[in-house]
């Protein structure tokens, strides 16, 4: 046997077979590997190459600042402020949840947050936008920033980024106009108007910030960087420069706005200053106001509750476009227009005001039980005779379909939104027989429509609900010769240097057929009320340098509650350029608080140094009117 010798004979057939099998196995394996390589590299190579490139390229968003908002004189009302935000990057974070929690726990005292809350915030953002750094807290003080940078090894994945925040240099002034910005919500993202917005972006949520969002919103830029597997940037590939949002110029005059807010600061209320010809809003405000700066960062729930709580006067509510009130005697302009155009009276029709009107077992008294005797429209407006307008209400209820006043109220812009470029405007309510009878059928009210409802409507009491802006539109229509304007704030879009990019044309006006003689009679009545002894606002405007035509109003809110004070002024008479409306919810008589407020606004509007009465005296006038 060859084992015993050191040499062996030629290879046995059995060994040859077995070596051949091993060789065969090797051959098959090489074949498999070659085919697999062919598949990976030659057939699918393009796909894998794309994936390899995708692996290494990261887009880092560069935030585009929102456009500024300026007033008609170019004064910056809404600006941007740059602040520091603490972020956490997903790819640098330790993989184990326990280690992540340790990082959060170290971060927590620094940011005055709970570690659990940090984890929640971060995970929520990672789920929404993977691979992108999550913002833990925005607007941290520079000391925090330095501490994190100096102790980078203790804070893996934690970074500090510069972000732009909205800044409102005048705090409470104009807050309701500008509105607020906030993070875009998931349902919003699905809407057309938010095309191009990404999760986590801040968009306008109310006010001008909302309605002109597409101009104010910039286009975020991006930095494309080559990163390694740990997410460290290795090289910059390309950069898309962010395009900041456009600057928006408003028709608002800041000085008037400020004067208006000061004028109504004593009470809950609102004011509107509007160009009667174009509908350009010069100022519009509501009290109480709020500081929109707290919305620049994510607002705390506590703050939001406080700002929307009615017990605090719900500061977030814009009473100028959302506050619905009975208007008191300021409604008489609408009743007068309806009666004249509906043929119930002519400007010279004389009615007798005996102090009260008795209808269907109810006696409607003049406010303050005054007796004005025989009078026509002009005088009725001057002294604000209720009985005169009770009669018109009574007659209108019986004339035709009985909707004469309602129809004209709607035509003049009441009972539906005015179409101003602010979101959330109220419609209001002009009570009609159908409206009350429908409620009655549903047992939501104790009685059906009666003539008394129409009589109340004629003097702006009862169920009627109007907001100050609607009233401004109605008065502007009479003042400008019958054009129903659409109020607006946005004037034009500019670049950051103030050069015009796009001008917003004044929205089309609706023409109403109002007889010029009738119209003049109404204006004369309003002028007399402000300028002649015995006129309801004569104590306030009698010595005012600018000729004003205006109407007071005192809306009764029921027993034990203070009356609401109204005033609508048109100036300069006889060709008014502006309408100014003010209302104060607990202001009492129109002449007492609202009219002085309007006077103060007008003196700034017309650039006067006014030293006139700040509070009207009611001596010798009908203070209820």
């Amino acid at each position: 046997m060859y084992l015993d010798r050191e040499t062996r004979p030629a290879i046995t057939p059995q060994l040859a077979l077995r070596v051949a099998i091993i060789g065969g196995v090797a051959l098959v394996m090489f074949g498999v590997v070659f085919f697999r390589l062919w598949y990976l590299q030659v057939l699918s190579g393009d796909k894998y190459k794309a994936e390899a490139n995708n692996n290494r390229v990261r887009e880092i968003t560069i935030q585009a600042p929102r456009g500024r908002i300026v007033d008609r004189n170019g004064r910056v009302l809404v600006d941007n402020r740059y602040g520091l935000a603490v972020t956490v990057s997903p790819d640098k974070l330790p993989k184990s949840p326990a280690k992540q929690m340790k990082v959060y726990a170290r971060l927590a005292p620094l940011l005055q947050m709970k570690a659990k809350d940090i984890r929640h915030t971060v995970n929520k953002q990672f789920a929404a936008i993977p691979f992108s750094p999550a913002i833990v807290k925005s607007d941290v003080p520079p000391a925090t920033y330095s501490y994190i940078l100096e102790n980078q090894n203790r804070f893996p994945a934690v970074d500090v980024e510069q972000l732009a925040f909205r800044k409102y240099p005048y705090h409470q002034i104009g807050a309701h106009l500008f509105g607020t910005v906030g993070e875009v919500t998931a349902p919003e993202l699905k809407r057309r108007r938010y095309r191009g917005v990404k999760m986590g972006d801040r968009v306008g949520q109310s006010g001008i910030e909302y309605s002109y969002d597409r101009y104010l919103r910039g286009k975020d830029g991006a930095r494309r960087v080559s990163v390694d597997a740990l997410g460290n940037a290795r090289a910059q590939l390309a950069e898309r420069v962010p395009k900041s949002g456009r600057q928006l110029r408003l028709s608002v005059d800041f000085d008037v706005q400020k004067a208006g807010q000061q004028a109504i600061s004593g009470d809950q209320g609102a004011f509107v200053v509007m160009d009667v010809q174009t509908g350009e809003v010069r100022a519009l405000g509501s009290n109480p106001s709020f500081d929109p700066n707290i919305f620049a960062k994510t607002i705390r729930e506590r703050d939001f509750k406080r700002l929307s709580n009615p017990a605090n006067g719900a500061p977030l509510t814009d009473r100028a476009t959302q506050g619905l009130y009975p208007t008191g005697s300021t409604f008489k302009l609408i009743t007068a227009t309806a009666a004249l155009e509906g043929g119930l009276i002519t400007p010279d029709t004389v009615l007798f005001d005996g102090g009260s009107l008795h209808v269907g077992g109810i006696t409607f008294w003049n406010a303050g039980h005054a007796t004005n005797g025989a009078l026509a429209l002009r005088r009725a407006l001057q002294v604000s005779s209720d009985v005169f307008f009770y009669r018109l209400g009574l007659d209108a209820n019986g004339a035709g379909d009985g909707h004469l006043i309602q129809r004209w109220a709607h035509r003049l812009g009441l009972g539906h939104p005015t179409g101003i470029d602010l979101p959330g405007e109220s419609a209001g309510l002009i009570p009609s027989p159908e409206w009350r009878n429908r409620l009655f059928k549903k047992h939501l009210t104790d009685r059906p429509w009666s003539v008394g409802d129409n009589i109340n409507l004629a003097v702006g009491q009862g169920d009627v609900q109007v907001d100050p802006l609607q009233l401004a539109v109605a008065y502007a229509t009479i003042a400008n010769g019958g054009y129903v304007v659409k109020p607006h704030l946005g004037e034009r879009v500019e670049d950051s240097l103030g050069r015009v990019i796009q001008e917003f044309r004044a929205p089309p006006r609706r023409k109403l057929d109002v007889n010029p003689t009738d119209r003049q009679a109404i204006l004369d009545g309003l002028r007399a009320a402000a300028s002649q002894p015995g006129g309801t606002s004569y104590p306030v405007f009698g010595n005012f340098k600018i000729p004003v035509a205006g109407k007071t109003g005192t809306a009764q809110k029921g027993a034990g509650r203070a009356d609401q004070s109204w005033y609508v002024g048109l100036a300069p008479y006889p060709n008014p350029r502006y309408v100014v409306v003010a209302t104060l919810e607990h202001g009492g008589f129109g002449v007492e608080t609202a009219a002085p407020a309007v006077r103060r606004i007008m003196s700034v509007l017309f650039g006067m140094k006014d030293t006139g009465p700040t509070r009207g005296s009611t001596a010798g006038v009908n203070p209820f009117g």
């Binding site: 059995q14 040859a16 091993i22 990976l40 894998y48 390899a52 692996n55 080559s226």
Partner: protein
């Protein structure tokens, strides 16, 4: 014609007489394959790791070249050495294998939770690597001893147990890959020796049962023989997208690297998968992926051709060995190389589980490189001895 007839005859005799210089008896193709692989491998490691250690771009390259040089010297030494003498030292060699592995377990350096190295000055010895070549030499000798009783079940099980003992010990380190190499070596040596087919059938059945038992049965019963990451690695290749963050991630990145190389490769400069660390372990277990990314299908085909050459020469040397001991050693070496090549390459292209087996001569690492050189040296030794003995026989015939 100036030379005398006698001188001419002497010249012819001189020319006809076979020369016995052993250096010329080396297998030149085997040598070319070996040098080609270590050279190309070092180059690939150099390009792949140039950015890994800040301030020292040639850290891995210089070390790999040094390991290669040491390996080369040892290979030539082995080639001159008559392997047959190793048979007498089988017990010592086997004992040394076990002792080294135990020593590693006892005082090895722990790296990432595993103890695989013994710290020597200038060098970290990975005993499981050295065990591969020692085991080949020892097992082949044990098989020769029981050649007459080869058909007995007892022989097969004894040999297998002799391999399973060190295999179990290295799995404890844990080094599952080397354990599997040991078993493959034992099986191949038995196969070459001529063990009955029925025995292999039994081995196959038992293996399948154990694998199923360890991966499925034992965990179900609450016994975890493998560490969870080992199970993950072994099963991840079945469905890599299942677990993209961990084991599947490595597989995915490896395939992306190879695929993105396309036909001719992206070149060392633009191999982003490697350079930006998306490819894990790019100088050790996944070095083949680097070849695929940097040099494409052409580069991969070149490397595979060199391996094919290596295996072809190993099998050829097996058939020409002067004695059975040489044939068995050559079989063991061939098994070791084939197993490591296919498991490693298969892993990088997604058709084999991740087992942490280095790619012979390409993967960075002193132990692996030197042990592979020793194994190739054994092959050369078998070749040299076969040639010498053949030449000697021819000389006998001539004289």
């Amino acid at each position: 014609m100036s030379a005398s007839l006698g001188e001419q005859v002497k010249g012819f005799e001189e020319a006809a007489r076979p020369r016995l210089r052993p250096w010329l008896q080396l297998d030149p193709l085997l040598l070319i394959a070996t040098l080609g692989l270590i050279g190309f491998g070092s180059y690939v490691i150099g390009t792949a790791t140039s950015g890994d250690i800040a301030g020292n771009p040639h850290y891995y390259l210089t070390r790999q070249i040094a390991y290669g040089a040491v390996g080369l010297v040892l290979m030539f030494f082995m080639a001159r050495f008559d392997y047959s003498r190793l048979r007498e030292w089988k017990l010592g060699i086997y004992g040394a294998t076990i002792a080294l592995i135990l020593l590693t377990l006892a005082l090895g350096t722990a790296t990432r939770g595993s103890k695989r190295w013994i710290d020597l000055p200038f060098f970290k010895l990975q005993s499981s690597e050295l065990g591969k070549v020692l085991l080949i030499v020892a097992l082949a000798a044990f098989v020769i001893d029981r050649m007459r009783r080869l058909s007995e079940k007892e022989t097969t099980s004894r040999i297998l147990l002799l391999a399973i003992l060190p295999a179990m010990l290295v799995v404890l380190q844990p080094d599952l890959g080397s354990g599997m190499v040991y078993i493959a070596i034992a099986c191949c040596i038995l196969f070459i020796a001529g063990t009955k087919w029925t025995h292999f059938l039994a081995i196959g059945t038992i293996t399948v049962t154990i694998v199923v038992g360890v991966l499925v049965g034992a965990p179900a019963a609450g016994v975890h023989l493998l560490k969870p990451y080992q199970v993950d690695r072994l099963t991840a290749f079945v469905n890599p997208t299942d677990n993209p963050r961990k084991q599947g991630y490595q597989l995915r990145q490896s395939q992306v690297a190879i695929g993105s190389g396309q036909k001719t490769g992206r070149g060392p400069e633009h191999a982003t998968q490697t350079k930006l660390d998306f490819l894990p372990e790019h100088h050790t277990d996944f070095v083949f992926s680097v070849v695929g990314e940097e040099f494409g299908f052409m580069g991969a085909a070149l490397v595979l051709s060199l391996y094919a050459l290596l295996i072809w020469r190993a099998l050829r040397i097996l058939t020409m060995a002067k004695n059975l001991y040489g044939a068995l050693i050559a079989g063991g070496v061939a098994a070791m190389l084939m197993f490591q090549i296919f498991v490693n390459v298969g892993m990088t292209i997604g058709i084999m589980p991740i087992t942490g087996v280095p790619l012979p001569l390409l993967s960075y690492g002193g132990s692996s490189v030197i042990v592979t050189f020793l194994a190739v040296g054994l092959l050369q030794s078998i070749h040299v001895q076969a040639r010498l003995s053949a030449l000697a026989k021819r000389r006998e015939l001539v004289t």
